[in-house]
Amino acid sequence: MLKKGLFKRPGNTLEKTQGDNVLPVPNVPETLFTTCKGCKAAVLTNELAQNLYVCPRCGYHGVIGARVRLMRLADDGSFEEWDAEISSADPLLFPGYADKAAEARVLSGEKEAVVGGMMRIQGCPCAAFAMDSRFMMGSMGGAAGEKITRLFEKAAQMDLTVIAFTLSGGARMQEGILSLMQMAKTSGAVKYHSDAGNLYVSVLCNPTAGGVTASFAMESDIALAEPGALICFAGPRVIEQTLRQKLPKGFQSAEFLMDKGFIDAVVPRAQQKDYLGILLKLHAKEHKNASV
C-alpha cells in the first residue's frame, strides 16, 4: 500500500515568505518547464517547441502560434506573408471590444487571429493560412474574414492550392451580425477558388467550432484534423447545458468525426508536412493538363 503523502512535494519555506521579504525571482524560470495539458507532466519547454508543441510523452497537441506553425511547415525561407497590415475594426462600438483586441495583439504578437500567405512545401507552391488561438480564441470577425477571403481570391488567380489550419471558437460576437456575414463571405471565396479547379485542404485543429466549422473549415476538398482536436458546431458545454446530460467521452473529437465520415484523416503535426507534400504533388497542375 502506498504511504500517504509519498508523492507530496516537500514544503518550500521560500514560498511561504510573506511581505517585503519575498525573493524577487524563483530559482527555476517559469518558462523552463511547461505542464502538458494532456498528461500533466512537466515537459522541457525547449523540447516541446522543437517537437512542434506536441507532448513527447503523451502526444497531446498543444497550442502553437499561427506564425510558428506556418514557418515550421514551409520550406526554409519560402513563406511570404500576405495582407499583414489588416486588423480588426470595432464596427458596433461593442463594449470592451477595443481593449480585448488590444490585449490579444500583445498576447499573440499578431494583428489579427489569422496569418496567411504563400509558401512552398517540399518544393510545391501553395497558399496557406493558420488561425491563432491566442488572439481572442481565433474568433472570426471582419478582419479575419477579409484576410481569408483575399487569400482564396489571390490563390484562385494564381492557380494555387489553399491549405487552411482552422482553429477558432467561431464568429467573433463583438462584431455582431457582421461577423456572421464573414461565414457567407469566406464561403463565397472558397467556392470561387474551387470553381476555378483548385484544391483546398483544411486541417482542423483544436478547437474548431461554431461559424468557422460551419463555413470554410467544412468546405474543403480534403479535410484533415489534428489528433484529439475538438471539432464541433455547438460546443460541449452548450450541449451539456441544453440537454442537461454529460456527453460521451471522445464525442466531437477528430477521431469521432473521422468515424462519422466528416474527416479524411487524422494527421499528427509532425507528419503534416509530408502528408501535405504528397497531396500537393498529387494535385500538381501538370497532371491536370496531361494528355491522355
Partner: protein, 259 residues
C-alpha cells in the same frame, strides 16, 4: 422600442409563423419532404408554390402552432437533415430555373448529439456555398428570429428583407450575456450592443429593406407579395453571370477592418 422588446416581439407565441406567410403570400403550395439521405425534418417546410402565377421554390423554417406541432418541429431548430432538405430544394429550383424564396424564423440550428454526429456544421456550410452560386434568383425574408448560422444557412440571397420586428443576430442576447459577461441579468444590454434590429441591419446593408408591420400582417403579406413579384421579375431578367457576381459582391463588402 428597445432592442430587447424587439427580441420579445420576434419570439412572441402569437406571431404569425412562416407557414402563415406561405399561406397568405403564395398560391398552390405543394409541400415536398425529406432530404433523401436520412429523414424529414419538420423544422423545415419546403415546396413549390405560385407567386402571381410564377412558380417559385419556397423554403421556410417552421416552429409549429400547437404543442404537438412544436415538438414535432423541434421548436423551429433544424437538424442537419433539415438543411439538407433545404439544399435539395435549392438544387431542384436551379434545375428548373425557379426563383427561391426563403422565410426564416428560427432561434438557431439545433444543438444536440444527433445534430453534431450527423454534421450540423457541414450541412450549414454546404447551404452557404450552394446558395452563393445558385444559378437562380434567391430572396430571403427574416420574419421573426434570425438565429445565427442556422438562419444564415437559408439567408444567403440576392436580396434580404426583414420584418419590422424581426431580429437577426450572431448569438442570442442571453448567450452573449452569459458568455461575455457571465451575467444573465445583462441580457438587455447584450441585445442593445449586438445591434440586431431591422434598422441596425439596414444600416449595415445586411438587409436591403424592412417590411412594416404597423398596419397589420395582412397588409404586410400584400406588401411582400407585390415586392416579390417586382424584384423577382427584375432579378430574373438579369444574366445569370451578373446575378451571381452581384450576389458575391453583396457579401464580399460586408464587415469592417483596418489596414
Amino acid at each position: 422600442m428597445q432592442a430587447f422588446d424587439r427580441v420579445l416581439a420576434a419570439r412572441a407565441k402569437d406571431r404569425p409563423g412562416c407557414a402563415d406567410f406561405i399561406a397568405n403570400i403564395f398560391d398552390d403550395f405543394v409541400e415536398l419532404r425529406g432530404d433523401r439521405r436520412y429523414g424529414d425534418d419538420k423544422a423545415i417546410l419546403a415546396g413549390i408554390a405560385r407567386l402571381e402565377g410564377m412558380p417559385v421554390t419556397v423554403v421556410a423554417t417552421q416552429k409549429g402552432t400547437c404543442t404537438g406541432e412544436r415538438v414535432a418541429a423541434n421548436f423551429g431548430c433544424a437538424h442537419p437533415e433539415g438543411y439538407r432538405k433545404a439544399l435539395r430544394q435549392f438544387l431542384l429550383a436551379e434545375k428548373f430555373a425557379r426563383p427561391v424564396v426563403t422565410l426564416i424564423d428560427t432561434a438557431g440550428a439545433y444543438c444536440g448529439l444527433g445534430a453534431e454526429e450527423r454534421g450540423q456544421a457541414q450541412a450549414i456550410a454546404e447551404c452557404l456555398t450552394t446558395l452563393m452560386t445558385l444559378r437562380t434568383p434567391v430572396i430571403a425574408i427574416l420574419t421573426g428570429e434570425g438565429g445565427s448560422g442556422g438562419a444564415l444557412a437559408l439567408a444567403v440571397a440576392d436580396r434580404v428583407w426583414m420584418m419590422e420586428n424581426a431580429v437577426y443576430s450572431v448569438i442570442s442576447p442571453e448567450g452573449c450575456a452569459s458568455i461575455l459577461w457571465k451575467d444573465a441579468s445583462k441580457t438587455e444590454d447584450a441585445a442593445r450592443s449586438l445591434k440586431l434590429t431591422a434598422e441596425d441591419l439596414l444600416g449595415f446593408h445586411v438587409v436591403d429593406s424592412i417590411v412594416p408591420e404597423g398596419a397589420g400582417f395582412d397588409k404586410a403579406y400584400a406588401d411582400i407579395r407585390s415586392r416579390l413579384k417586382d424584384t423577382l421579375g427584375a432579378l430574373k431578367a438579369l444574366d445569370v453571370k451578373d446575378l451571381l457576381s452581384a450576389r458575391y459582391k453583396r457579401y464580399r463588402t460586408m464587415g469592417g477592418f483596418l489596414g
